[in-house]
Point group: D2
Chain length 105, copies 4
């Protein structure tokens, strides 16, 4: 649907992976901006209007991410599953380090 | 799976919407960094190693985005479909403005 | 100094405003990542190692921002003073709205 | 000036390092968004209106970065000079690798 959306509007020339990575980054910045002055606790109790703004920004991030995967012919779900499998090995359950550790990149 | 992954490692207390929005933003920054010195054309012709690094960063963005949707109980696919419907109206096909216009936020 | 640093290494062709904006964004993402799992309170009491990592990422953001200003021939200090003047008018001191309001973009 | 600006508006409680890092990231995202559909060449030839929007976003990034340095009591210029010195050693002038290498994080 996103491919068709772009094609119908003749936006394909703009949708290079580089440009789409910038767009993902821009939308992620807007998502962060929505919650920048909230406490972590407040971010758990958003009112309806804030929730909708947040959902909207999340949708924008997903759009550009999926469109980027399409342009690059990357299977995003497979990539996510593969990364999860590696993260399981990197952070073994029950290991003191994993338990104590805060998740790090 | 991501919910279970976090629970097993006792990372749930860190996964507030605010913190996850920062994580999405951090991973989106890493994704941008992968392509920052490429030309748009080069970003269309990544070699296998670069493609894998890019796919990896895209997976990280998706993980945190999906985990954030889970924590907020937001239906991410519904939000994306809803936003797409509004974008269709905002940028009508064939309108001179849409055709000429570069996509803007 | 940053101009010379880039010229000596023959990196000037890569330093377009677009690429430098991506680099600012990438480094800002790394800065966010440093504090993503901290509480706001903890971020006020960083230990020496964390402070150094944060200072390092802040330096990276500043480098690319200043380099971008140089390439665009934008007077960054003047731009910042100008924006501050406008923000003073936008958020008048003592107005109930400003006082109650959380800063928003 | 930024310290005073925040104090006058009673915004200090919101200006934790964590929140300010999110704000830097958010503004960096907006900066990226300004140039996301431009080619690198076009970003070198911005018209007056685009230049002003870009300068404005750069000012926002600088504001939050300087405010963050103030709150953390980090000497941002010293940090930038220190990082530049390390980057000089990391990328020696005239080394084939540096010359060929595209700058990487």
């Amino acid at each position: 649907m996103l491919r068709e959306f772009a094609a119908e509007r003749e936006w394909e020339p703009f949708h290079t992976p580089k440009n789409l990575a910038m767009a993902v980054s821009g939308e992620a910045g807007e998502l962060a901006a929505e919650l920048q002055w909230s406490t972590p606790e407040e971010s758990n109790e958003l009112d309806a209007a804030a929730r909708e703004r947040v959902a909207d920004e999340m949708a924008d991030v997903l759009h550009y991410l999926v469109r980027m995967a399409d342009v690059l012919d990357i299977d995003l779900i497979a990539a996510a599953m593969d990364k999860l499998a590696r993260n399981r090995e990197r952070f073994p359950v029950g290991e003191p380090e994993t338990r104590r550790a805060r998740p790090r990149r």
